[in-house]
Symmetry: C2
């Protein structure tokens, strides 16, 4: 493999257990990339299948698709046969996936329920917030189940883990309790944890929304992956809304120790300031400004972040780790956010 | 309310947090009661709806069904409208449910996947077991989601919590790690945790199945509910398979300090021995012998257990706690398992 493993370190006061094998990559599966943005609770099945297939190619390069057997044995609406052929497992070698964690956003799941009720603002003593909390969790766990199934159909040993059930909670919307031992044990057993943005309890305001991006930052800090990949629905980060004429794809962003960032490539005199203004203008929940900020906080940890369009060859290259440690090639389309002393 | 709250006590070395309010009841929703036994992954929608409605009546007696607003805002296949009427929440008082925990079995979910692969016997290094582990979790979390949704539609603030995600694991198939703080915080926030039998990691054999009954015993021991109700698909425990002619419903079983048990009602000279033999004969996973053993272990903790048919008036009376502390009335059909010094 052509990526370098970094030593596992940085465990903190929350008593995170050591991993037997370091994490290779944390993948953010953006909600926009795998759900239909304009239709409530609709998965983009086709793209999700491609993403799952690419993840398999990257995580288990030794497995041929002809031999691999799906791990979703549930009854499907379109088929009554759920029985796996047990004999096919007989001569299979166990192919252990390299250590990945998948975290997905909510996309068109959960967002409606959360915004309608104001779960992120807290207040569980209000009937609407309480109902919205329950409704949000139903919606996002539903999406989680479907993503786990899509990965399992590609023979990836995916395990759904809801932050709420993991006991993760916040205080003033920042992590206050997030024991990672369950996630670590899952990885050490060669499973792929599939986490997601979730409604959680908050010590100060009762409840809030814990976003997938915040989860990734936390995991990156404490589990030290070799690199992080954000799979999204556009090629990367642009200097203005990508739909606008002349929108420029930012290829490389450098993050300084103090968290400030600047565009290294393409070089333009006043690019940094322009980006800051124009990106902010089209920012919504999970928008590009949030994405750059979250990516910058990970890059500050000396962990490279690739923001790239899901289902493309560019995403496969980023996921495989082949862009690491050198100059980003001209034919790779995406945004690298990295630390620069 | 006509039930007596017992003091919360018995927290052990696993450092379980104290509950602000004691648990009133742990409800076991038997897999057979809410799924169609002979059809894989088929929910008994009608019975599940009745159970949810009865649980609501018992947990939130102050709420009229006309005013209550559902908490499942997901898109349903049969309806495109998922929007709750937010105005309706305006004049609603928050009705806090009394402290219940729901634990459900797998029924026709998960069982096929688990038995086909032998997950309960462990061995994650075998491709079939590993695939079966993933497949089992997909199936049981799917059922969990549907049960949570059914409860939420009845305005019960249900929160799905998977034992695997809670970080619970076993050693030699007994609980080795089961931090209850997430469950306790969920209850203290006036939600209803909905747990389930699950595939979990096992320190000695890699993995196993943690059954709903074992979970209930553990919760009973550490959270000390006032009483426990097993909702099943027959009236209670019989002296032989209920389908056999002359099968007799056992009304009251007394459990001694050493765990041995005897039938108090109906009184028959050699009942105890007869039961032991004939019940064992038709015992399968989750069968009656297992049920009596699990109930006996809870009863040993001085916690009464009612085994009763779901969806009946008998189950409502048991859930309400109106049978507690006295002689079981003649017109109540079910089995009480209780401690007897």
């Amino acid at each position: 493999m052509d990526y370098q493993q970094k030593p596992v370190m940085g465990y903190n006061e929350l008593n995170h257990p050591c991993l037997n094998r370091p994490i290779r990559c944390i993948v953010k599966l953006g909600g926009a990339a795998i759900t239909c943005k304009n239709e409530i609770e609709k998965i983009n099945e086709e793209d999700l299948q491609i993403v799952a297939s690419q993840l398999k190619e990257v995580m288990m390069p030794g497995s041929s698709s002809s031999k691999s057997i799906g791990m979703d044995w549930s009854k499907r609406v379109e088929s009554s046969d759920i029985s796996p052929n047990v004999d096919e497992f007989g001569d299979q070698d166990l192919i252990e996936p390299s250590n990945f964690i998948v975290v997905h956003g909510a996309g068109s799941f959960g967002h409606f329920q959360a915004s309608k009720s104001g779960v992120h603002k807290g207040g569980l003593n209000h009937p609407l917030v309480k109902a919205g909390f329950v409704a949000t969790r139903i919606s996002v766990t539903n999406l989680n189940l479907e993503i786990v199934r899509a990965l399992a159909r590609e023979s990836l040993p995916a395990i759904g883990m809801s932050p709420f059930s993991c006991g993760w909670s916040t205080c003033e919307r920042n992590f206050s309790s997030a024991n990672l031992s369950a996630v670590a044990r899952t990885i050490d057993s060669s499973f792929i944890p599939v986490l997601h943005g979730d409604a959680v309890l908050d010590e100060s305001q009762g409840c809030t929304i814990l976003s997938g991006d915040v989860i990734i930052r936390y995991l990156a800090e404490h589990l030290r992956p070799a690199y992080v990949v954000f799979l999204t629905d556009v090629l990367g980060v642009y200097d203005r809304p990508p739909s606008e004429p002349g929108a420029l794809l930012l290829r490389e962003i450098a993050v300084k120790e103090d968290g400030s960032w600047s565009v290294l490539k393409p070089r333009q005199e006043d690019m940094s300031r322009r980006v800051e203004i124009t990106v902010a203008a089209h920012d919504t929940t999970g928008g590009m400004m949030t994405k750059i900020s979250e990516a910058a906080m990970i890059a500050k940890l000396r962990i490279d972040v690739y923001i790239v369009k899901a289902t493309t060859t560019h995403s496969v290259r980023a996921l495989r780790g082949e862009l690491r440690g050198g100059i980003v090639p001209e034919d790779w389309l995406g945004t690298l956010v990295r630390f620069s002393a």
